[in-house]
Amino acid sequence: MLELSHITKIYRMGGVDITVLSDVSLKVQPGELIAIMGPSGSGKSTIMNMLGCLDRPTSGSYRFEGREISSMTDDELASIRNVKIGFVFQTFNLLPRFSALKNVEVPLIYSGVPARLRKERAMPLLQQVGLFERMDHKPTELSGGQQQRVAIARALVNHPPLLLADEPTGNLDSRSGEEILKILIGLNQQGVTVIIVTHDQTVAARCKRIISVKDGQIIDDRGQP
């Protein structure tokens, strides 16, 4: 499904090149549940952004469902992000001025779903994450765990085959974190490919495959199918 081969990512800052990723190669099969672990600054988020088509590699090749990403236009990447990929961020990244329901509807706006249908499609997802009663609440009126569940509903609204979660439980207490994790694992059981970045050993332990990253390189990759 996903194939990174010999990916490097170099940031140039003040004339100095910082190599954030060097020679990262990685294959992901449909339906996998993967944890990415590693110390802070090791490049986990950079890999996730790469996988999520938010960032382009400096060199190397990234094939998404067989199509080479580096040759795609910005609009094609936007469309892949919209339809094929769901993002869940550590900081939730909800639009503060919008209600929970409106937030969930945002991806549908960009796939051209008319307003009337958007509501119909967004509500079942809020139901699924247990926030049906809170759909008119603004993010500031929700707890962290609730906000993250809205973010998951939003990530799933276009039924993408791939869900990327960058430290989804990092800002939550263990009970809320557990709820989020249960939802993610449940989704994987329904066939969604799920990749989770985490610091938490107990979270990683529940994933079939664990990838360890250090200094921009994959140093360990256990449980490949």
């Binding site: 952004n49 999520g52 938010l54 960032d55 910005d74 609009d75 936007a78 469309s79 992000r81 919209n82 339809v83 993002f87 961020f89 990244n93 909800l94 639009l95 001025r97 945002v106 991806p107 706006i109 960009y110 796939s111 051209g112 008319p114 307003a115 939003r154 276009n158």
Partner: protein
Amino acid sequence: MNFLETFRVAFEAIVSNKVRSGLTMLGVIIGVMAVILLVSIGAGAQAYITKELTGMGTNLLVITPGKTSMRGGFHPPSAGTVRKLTYDDSQALRRRAWLLTDAVPLVFGTGKLKYRNMGRDIMIIGTTPEFQRVRNLFVDTGSYISQGDVDSKSKVVVLGTKVKEELFGSENALGKVVVLSDARYRVVGVMQKKGTSLGMDIDDIVYIPVTSGQELFDTDSLFEIIASTPRAEDVDRAIAQIKDVLIKRHAHKEDFTIQTQGAMLETMNTILGVLTAVLGGIAGISLLVGGIGIMNIMLVSVRERTREIGIRKALGARNSDILAQFMIEAITLSGAGGVIGIILGVGLALVIPVFVDVLPTSVSLWSILMAFFFSAAVGIFFGVYPARKASLQDPIQALRWE
């Protein structure tokens, strides 16, 4: 993403920051209002002048002594001209220029008017009976100056209504004797009430025979001759006749100037047109400043919402979606400002003449349309840069923005 949705997103952004949006719009509102108001005042003045000049009587020709090379414009009466325009000239025109219905000799100036212990300076016109017809100003009670009065240089005076009210109140003025620049004049008539025209109070004038006027102003010349011809098509031929008659009488020299009403109108309209354009231009500058205000706020808004841009991009917004969102926000700000400005501008233009009667206004559709499209264009022009900046944000950098 469809237009309606983009519009809704932009509208929500505007509403969620009411004070700022309001202040931003204020720049455009004032600009548009100023454009409409100043243009309608200019157009109003133009319409007013046209109405007053044509209201004076039709197809007037004004002959003044002295030759100016320029066509149109205003000339001071007779100062230092070689050959003067005389009462006999006007009589000759009446007799020989048959296309003219009238050729009315005129002297005018100010003098002191006294009755009992009251007295003040007043505008005096010395003329003949035909003045009534040419200028559409008629006597109300008593009689106007007669040809006999002119021939015999009688000391008779016809009063404007305001003068009459002031001196006599409700008393009958006919037959009373007033002193006009140290000479005693008998009141023979009172004019109809007319009001103000072209900034002059028509009711605050007194009329005396032209011959007496020449004596009063100590001159044997006329200040002008007002001639009229019944048909507009005859104006050119009438001019030729006047020239023919006068040149023969003036030792074969064209030492006088003939202005037609049309030419005067044209001159006035040109002056007012330029004035209107200048005023409109100045107002346009304030609209431009309003546009810069929009750009400024849009740049702040783009910066503030960098994270929102990142989120939207991560969720599948294309560059063009973001561009459209911010463009529509800018255009909505300027467009709404434009509409409010139009309403205020038109409202003021309609209300001002009610309170200030020297400022007639005329609201024209084209000035409204122009102001609206100009303000929309300002929104587009000053919205492009911030919106492009927003749309080209790198999603990762935007998401990292705090």
